[in-house]
């Protein structure tokens, strides 16, 4: 710790001073250089130029931290790696989103300003996919919350073999998406599938779940909720075990009904955690890709195609690189909003605890 004394001299503004530790200026400079480089140079050269510019910005940020903070040394490798593997590529693609570019063509990118964004924001398809994603996320999260909650109630008490039974319930979380997708498709299959066979014992007719939009949605929601309810269960369990025992004893003395006991004693302890589970799963559900892709391919038609699949098609299958980076940035914005909300609630929970 050193003493921080504020000096009064403030002209010119800090951001305009040409010093190596003036990292905000370095960042702005780096972005300008990168954009110019992408516009003017061939892709290969522009990559190295923008990388160098960004490295300069990073160096500036580290240098700024170095003299004053020991932590800089410890944090630097992580920041550097994240910068190289995440932040730099994202910034690069931000630049790219203002260009017209396809990764599988030889043509250099052409600057088109906000056209990509305009195209996407006015494209009903994007809105439709976002709507599908929202519906699916709401449904799957709702189911997960309920099922996870009930599972947590089941496991909230100590009983013999609990440790082993818990592992059974936790297993779905550990399966790979490929297996889940393939096997649920098999479970839902009308001829060989277990579900259809089961229903047929009563109706005599094969049960064709994935034939309708609602059915396909239900199938996806069921598979995803099955996979991730244990996650909600873990969170709720954490809340349940944090309720002090004496509160229940007091409630027993006051002869509170079970429902009131739950509402007045248990619920306040798990409210924050439920909120966390809700947000965390919503953010995850927003990314829904693998299960949907393997189960329905987005069908029937495009009725279960999520935004993640849409981006996948645009970027990977159609090689519409810059269009899809623009969608990415709209998603990024959404995620930042959700993350902020998540952190806000997480912090509030931490303060309450």
């Amino acid at each position: 710790m050193t003493s921080v004394t504020t000096t009064g001299a403030k002209s010119p503004p800090r951001i305009l001073q040409p010093r190596l530790d003036n990292w905000p200026a370095a960042f702005i400079l780096a972005i300008i250089i990168s954009i110019l480089a992408i516009a003017l140079l061939p892709p290969k050269a522009s990559f190295w130029v923008s990388l160098a510019a960004c490295a300069l910005a990073a160096a500036s940020a580290v240098y700024n931290a170095w003299g004053r903070y020991k932590g800089g040394l410890l944090v630097a490798p992580a920041i550097a790696l994240l910068f190289v593997m995440n932040i730099f590529p994202l910034l690069w693609s931000l630049g790219l989103s203002f260009f017209s570019y396809r990764a599988n063509r030889m043509k250099p990118p052409a600057f088109i300003g906000l056209d990509n964004y305009e195209k996407i924001l006015t494209d009903p398809t994007v809105w439709d996919r976002l709507q599908t994603t929202a519906i699916m996320a709401i449904l799957t999260v709702a189911v997960q919350m309920v099922v996870g909650f009930l599972l947590a109630l089941l496991f909230s008490k100590q009983f013999p073999l609990r440790r082993y039974l818990l592992i059974l319930v936790l297993t779905p979380m550990m399966l790979s998406y490929v297996a889940i997708g393939a096997f649920f498709r098999y479970y839902y299959e009308p001829t060989f599938g277990l579900l259809s066979q089961f229903v047929r014992m009563f109706t005599g007719e094969p049960f064709i779940l994935l034939a309708t939009t609602q059915g396909a949605m239900a199938g996806i929601v069921f598979a995803d909720a099955w996979m991730w309810s244990p996650f909600v269960m873990l969170l709720v369990l954490a809340g349940l075990v944090s309720v002090p025992k004496y509160l229940y004893e007091a409630a027993a003395i006051d002869r509170l009904s079970g429902w009131r006991q739950f509402w007045n004693i248990t619920f306040p302890y798990i409210r924050g955690l439920l909120m966390l589970a809700l947000l965390f799963r919503t953010i995850e559900a927003f990314k829904l890709f693998d299960v949907v892709f393997l189960l329905t391919e987005g069908g029937p038609g495009t009725s279960t195609e999520t935004i993640a699949i849409y981006v996948y098609r645009q970027a990977i299958q159609f090689n519409k690189t810059s269009d899809s980076t623009a969608i990415s940035y709209i998603l990024l914005f959404t995620v930042i909003v959700l993350t902020n909300l998540y952190l806000y609630l997480a912090n509030r929970r931490a303060r309450e605890a």
């Binding site: 599988n104 030889m106 009308p190 034939a211 391919e297 069908g299 029937p300 098609r313 299958q317």
Partner: protein, 480 residues
């Protein structure tokens, strides 16, 4: 096991792995005479057999030690993986077995090498290609489609055929019942089956759709049974291929890239003939196993249903036939026969059999060195040599070379080979343009809506036509 020991173990394992990687890299000898050709291929028997034959028999005429390193990639991931590899610039592969539709996309990207110079420089190769059936050669090698620009060589040509169950179709009781119901003979021999048109095929569907507990060919069924199946799946091209066949047979057309830039999508793609064709295609799906209503009746599913004995007949690529006659993978291995796929009976009584060609060409990547290209050319020549093609066919592969498949021996290799020569004349291909995947995906989505009963044929084709018109105009393939 404590956490500490686990972490230690992990660290040791990583260290060992690192050492192994380094050691492995340094051990690979840099033999001057060795040429490594790295090829991406889909993982299925036609490519596995090729690898096997290469390893056992191939001697490079140059005397160099030519190694073929093949990356077998699962079919469902193949396009994605190859696309990612090519666009990511890892330049890992010198050649690939590419689906024909991908030609445009990867040629425009500068990945596939034009091979006209190689053909012109080599009279033998030129002769071999001249001996090839034009339909597969154009489909697998030309871009733009049917131009003189060659980009590949056929690896494994493939067409649709009709797989059917002799134990059912030749059953006397069923024969009699069919005769009684439709006043027509139920075909039994492959020759009789060759003469089946869509109307007859529809009757198979209607006739053989049985409930659990009913009798089929003298036996009580323990499960529902269905007469017919063909592909109607949402993934990849698993409905377009079959629908194109119907459209061509009805005299309609898909957007024709050979007519570009004058040919339109609007009015062609949704012509009355095409609508009729799609209607016909959809009509037959109601006799198929219920999975068709979910949009997952892909080529793998119809194959599975047939091998599991759930359908009497299905239309499938020849590439799947081998596993159908293998008792380890098929419950019907000893009671299956093969015929030409059904078609539309024309006014002259002849069957029109237009179909969408399958199969794949070899392509060469632009970054291959001259030495590698030389070896690749030698390898391709070896592969297309009559002797090797015969050997390949004998193991279950197919050849597009006339002198090979016209050899009387050819039909004896496999029971389905009798359909090969007559089938080949009816093959056409879809688009080769770079935008093919967008066209394909949108078409598949629309067809899926029709197949799952969400919209009618007219709407479907109108939507496709409108989309294609717009997209192709933007891409400059349609100009007025």
């Amino acid at each position: 096991m404590t956490v500490k020991t686990m972490l230690k173990g992990l660290a040791t394992a990583s260290a060992m792995a690192a050492v192994m990687t380094v050691a492995g890299a340094s051990l690979a000898p840099a033999n001057a005479e060795e040429v490594v050709l790295r090829m991406a291929v889909p993982d299925w028997p036609p490519t596995r057999i090729m690898k096997d034959m290469f390893d056992k028999n191939y001697k490079a005429p140059s005397g160099k030690d030519v190694k073929l390193e093949i990356d077998f990639i699962p079919w469902p991931d193949y396009y994605t993986r190859l696309n990612a590899s090519l666009t990511s610039g890892e330049q890992k592969y010198n050649m690939a077995v590419s689906d024909s539709q991908w030609l445009g996309a990867f040629i425009e990207g500068g990945y596939y090498r034009k091979v006209n110079d190689l053909i012109d420089a080599d009279p033998d190769l030129k002769a071999t290609l001249a001996d090839m059936h034009p339909a597969p050669l154009q489909a697998y090698a030309t871009y733009p489609y049917k131009s003189e620009n060659y980009y590949g060589f056929p690896q494994m040509p493939d067409i649709y055929i009709n797989y059917y169950r002799t134990d059912i179709f030749c059953n006397e009781e069923e024969q009699a019942n069919f005769q009684a119901k439709y006043n027509q003979k139920l075909p039994c021999t492959p020759e009789e089956m060759d003469n089946v048109d869509w109307d007859m095929y529809e009757k198979f569907g209607e006739f053989f759709m049985r409930k659990k507990g009913e009798k089929l060919a003298g036996q009580v069924l323990d499960d529902d049974f269905y007469g017919i199946a063909y592909q109607a799946g949402k993934a990849y091209d698993f409905s377009t291929m079959q629908i194109n066949a119907f459209i061509w047979q009805y005299g309609g057309n898909i957007w024709d890239e050979t007519q570009a830039p004058k040919g339109h999508a609007e009015g062609v793609v949704n012509s009355p003939e095409a609508v009729k064709a799609l209607d016909h295609y959809l009509r037959l799906t109601k006799y198929m196993p219920p999975v068709v209503k979910t949009g997952s009746m892909d080529i793998f599913k119809t194959d599975e249903l047939f091998r599991e004995g759930k359908v009497a007949s299905h239309i499938e690529w020849i590439g799947f036939a081998e596993s159908t006659i293998n008792p380890q993978t098929s419950k019907v291995s000893d009671k299956v026969a093969f015929a030409l796929p059904p078609g539309l009976r024309g006014e002259d009584g002849q069957i029109i059999r237009w179909a969408n060609i399958g199969g794949q060409p070899f392509v060469i990547m632009t970054w291959s060195t001259d030495e590698q290209i030389k070896e690749i050319t030698d390898f391709v020549k070896w592969w297309l040599s009559p002797e090797v093609q015969h050997q390949y066919a004998a193991q279950g592969g197919q050849s597009a070379i006339k002198s090979v498949y016209n050899d009387p021996k050819y039909v004896t290799y496999r029971p389905w080979n009798r359909t090969w020569a007559p089938g080949l004349d009816w093959q056409k291909d879809t688009w080769h343009i770079p935008e093919f995947f967008e066209l394909l995906v949108q078409g598949q989505e629309q067809y899926d809506l029709a197949i799952t009963g969400k919209q009618d044929a007219k709407t479907t084709l109108d939507n496709i036509a409108a989309f294609q018109e717009k997209l192709l105009k933007e891409a400059g393939h349609i100009q007025d």
